[in-house]
Symmetry: C2
Subunit: 231 residues, 2 copies
């Protein structure tokens, strides 16, 4: 019996790409520069896994995601020959705190919250997730993060730490995510899994979508409303 649902956040709950493009366009106007902001957003996101892997492999001490985002951003700005005031770059870096939800996220979480404990289980740091919840109206029961466990997903410790701190067995906890790799790591740690399709995460429908086997995850849903119907 599932007692709690842990949600991946970037891409699963919020549309990071469209949100970032909007913020980058505002930044560009303010700075008086024009670039390919969609590509800039994709590159920013693409820097995330390698940066996080430095921490996961122990080549960097624990570094919160805000600071990893800032490292990547500084590099991208240098590459794009954009010089901006630290205050403006910091505001832009915190665009990740102001991501907008998918159209079904708020209502879907509201319905799921009636039957389950709902928590984030994100690589985003606690303050990022807390600000985002306020911005986007996400009514989490609690805000859990890799930062609390000292391990980024897909490290096993993040999934098991989440179950332990919620005082449930691993198989009483279900990870909800739009990414098979995250779900596979959760399943390997003993969690239940729900795949939610987010075909527009990378802009064009289905871009970078990762295939998976039928039956590989416990539940497959088209969005959070469909997930609430199925659970």
């Amino acid at each position: 019996m599932v007692r709690a649902l842990a949600f991946d956040v970037f891409g699963t709950v919020v549309d990071w790409r469209a949100s970032l493009i909007g913020e980058l366009e505002d930044f560009g106007k303010h700075q008086g520069v024009q670039r390919d902001w969609a590509k800039f957003a994709d590159d920013w996101r693409a820097g995330y896994v390698p940066a996080m892997d430095l921490v996961r492999r122990g080549e960097l001490p624990w570094t919160r995601l805000d600071d990893l985002h800032r490292r990547i951003l500084d590099e991208l700005l240098r590459g794009a020959a954009i010089e901006a005031a630290d205050h403006d770059v910091n505001h832009l870096n915190r665009a990740w705190h102001r991501l907008n939800p998918w159209p079904d996220s708020v209502e879907g979480l509201y319905r799921l919250k009636e039957r389950y404990v709902i928590t984030t289980l994100s690589n985003g740091n606690v303050s990022l997730l807390t600000d985002m919840a306020k911005h986007a109206g996400l009514l989490w029961d609690c805000v859990l993060s890799a930062e609390i466990f000292g391990h980024y997903k897909p490290d096993r410790e993040a999934y098991l730490g989440c179950a332990q701190i919620l005082d449930v067995a691993p198989d009483e906890l279900m990870l909800v995510a739009a990414h098979p790799s995250d779900l596979r790591a959760a399943r390997a740690a003993g969690l239940r899994t729900a795949y939610v399709d987010r075909p527009l995460e990378w802009g064009q429908p289905g871009r970078y979508r990762v295939a998976f086997e039928p039956g590989e995850f416990d539940v497959t849903a088209t969005d959070f409303l469909d997930l609430a119907d199925k659970l």
Copy 2:
């Protein structure tokens, strides 16, 4: 400028004593035993500081509050010559997950949440606080606990850990509590402080109330609605 409010929970947000007495009366009926449940509740609470101090002094390894509560409860049940099934004792122990709010708590938090990040900063473990929030309708922005920092209040690390994880300076964080000792430790760590009067925490008005100097805390309020007015 205060950006976030961290709330002590037992006694400040919820009326642990009346809630426990109600749960103990139900337990007594179910077991067919009659005892002085008000005293039993007081004794249970009185065991909390000594048990926690064993952890704070390093005489016990980190132990979550649920397990400290259970140790105290087992001893009290032995002392009262009550033998109950483990399932029933466990249900009773989890009464701390089902504490009821003071009459102003839900509305007051709702108002404060509009202007500030509001979080728990309690010695209760995360699952306890999460269950309680669901039970009592407390809309926290995030659920922080001694468990996350590996230090029980009044250890300095709990207050500073809270500021750090929320990404605010210590003086941008205000502790809200009904207990001068908690507020004094927070102030010593550099936090701002708000005292909220809960004269009925121990039943009779003013029982065990601890005196403090005028102006000792940044704000003094009669309840959460008064606190919202004053902030």
